[in-house]
């Protein structure tokens, strides 16, 4: 019996057929524990986003199983997938993906409209998160008028709204300066440790990657190293 909240078993994903076939993810087996924040690094095109999409229930793997909290999500039908995305996963996309005509706060509250949750409690949660991520000042600003960094933080807050067990983050800090970036990552980490969730964060930023509990490196669709402490990877790359 492990404490793994996410188990990947021989997960592969290829796109296209014949000559045009791209093996984006190849035979990945990996466990992530409760309360663990993992950063996922690797060159562009190495399959990081594809892996995240599969774990987030947006893409069906070509082969393998993805078990979240004991449930194999690759067996889910359409409705179960929708509920899985709604209740179990908080996704922060590479683009910040706001609803442009809603305010920062409304963008958080939108997740309450999809059902299955107490909306009164969500209002509380929204204000708490806005405060925590330094967004209180812009809470009633329409999101199309927010800066890139503000939008990214709203996206992170939105992912945390429904208390998901799994938080998936694709390039969260791209438009944040390093100080703000660290602050955001620390806030995320606190959530994950405090509420025993798990998180995979894809990043190109070494200093961000370093702040995670574990660092996973992807090369060409495969796991290059899976249990490295952030420092070891850095020193191996430095060589």
């Amino acid at each position: 019996m492990t404490d793994a909240i996410l188990e990947l078993r021989g997960v592969s994903k290829s796109f296209g057929e014949g000559d045009r076939r791209v093996d984006a993810v190849r035979d990945v087996t990996l466990d992530i524990d409760r309360g663990e924040m993992v950063s996922l690094v690797g060159p562009s095109g190495s399959g990081k986003s594809t892996l995240l999409a599969m774990v987030g229930g947006l893409l069906q793997p070509t082969a393998g199983a993805i078990v979240v909290d004991g449930e194999d999500i690759t067996r889910h039908g359409k409705g179960a997938r929708t509920r899985y995305r709604r209740d179990r996963v908080g996704f922060v996309f590479q683009g910040s993906n706001m609803v442009p005509f809603l305010t920062a706060r409304e963008n958080l509250l939108i997740v309450g409209e999809f059902g299955g949750v107490d909306r009164g409690a969500l209002r509380h949660r929204a204000d708490e998160l806005l405060e925590e991520l330094g967004l209180a000042r812009v809470r009633d600003q329409v999101s199309s008028q927010l800066s890139g960094g503000e939008r990214q933080r709203v996206a992170i807050a939105r992912a945390l709204m429904r208390d998901p067990v799994l938080i998936l983050v694709d390039e969260p800090t791209a438009s944040l300066n390093s100080e703000l970036g660290s602050r955001v990552v620390d806030a995320l980490k606190e959530e994950i440790h405090g509420r025993s969730k798990a998180c995979i964060m894809v990043t190109h930023d070494e200093r961000m990657a370093e702040r995670a509990d574990r660092l996973i490196e992807f090369r060409d669709g495969r796991l290059h190293s899976a249990d490295a402490r952030p420092e070891t990877v850095r020193s191996s790359e430095a060589r």
Binding site: L58, F93, G95, V99, L102, E113, F114, V142, R162
Partner: protein, 363 residues
Amino acid sequence: MLAIREMRRRKLQFALVTGVVALVSFLIIMVTGLGLGLYQRAGTALLSLNGDQLAYADNANLSLIRSRLTEAQVRDIEAKSGADDATPLGYIAAVIEYAPGRRDTAAVVGLVPGSFAEPRTIEGRALSSPDQILVDRSWARLAGTRVGDVLPLPVGFDRRNFTVAGIVDQGYFFFQPAVYVSLEAWQAIAYQGDASQRPAASVVLLKGKTLDASRGSGWEAVTKRTAFDNIEGVQAQQSTVNALRYMGLLIGAMVIGVFFYVITLQKVSLLGILKAIGASGFYLVTQGLLQVAVVSAVGALLAVGLAVLLQTTVLASSSVPIAFTTSAVLTTALSVLVAGMIGAGLSVRQVAAIDPIIAMQQQ
């Protein structure tokens, strides 16, 4: 609610399409009103005659203008039709100069005073002498005629004065406001020359749902309904009006449909993101349909308001043949709503088919 928030934040877009829907609905309501108005003008007076069937000369092809019955034929109809009751009617269109230099055409109906064909008056008295006349409210309004006034009707190259005995409320006859005189007076107005050569009546009004015979020597009887439908132009008119209505509904459905289709296309990436964070296809479709319902309901309501406004101001005092009934207006508003839903239903599949993976491809 996302749907309502979006409409509030994108007021201009939604206001524009609501305006267009309102105008299209208004057009449909007007066309419907015109249809009803023309229908009423065609011959409400005929439909409200206190009888069930009409006997025509059989060579008249059910034309009130061409039908002429002799005294013998009228007696034959009375005897052979087996109707509960029968009374002759005459029809002629006549120009009445009701004030110096002011003239208008009226449908002059000849009838036997005191017979069941004589309409009840809403003002004044029934006909009691051959130089009296009953006028319909539509004529009274047009010409400003009151009980006791004198109206000159053309008789040959001459004129004869008729005193208005009463006012009735039977509507138009044959697209003209109706006036009623005695059968003899009608004969004089309709046919000059030798009195013995004149036709006795245009048609005979019969009482009784079923007849022993609906044909005889030189005549045929039909129901009031058939008689009405055979008034020259009625059918063509009604089918034209109906074609216009359906056209309008089609345009309304297309306007709403295309608008929401374009809006949906614009929002594909946004809808993908919402799906990616847990919105079901059902939720998104419901939100879309809610917007359609609001746009078409508000549009239809504005149109109804506009129609009511028009009726109480301009139409009330004009001779434009547009008539509204509450049920016709409501039916139209409802049809617009349904048409809009159908039009927008085209986008439903589009929404359902959006793959949430596009959320990953946004920059």
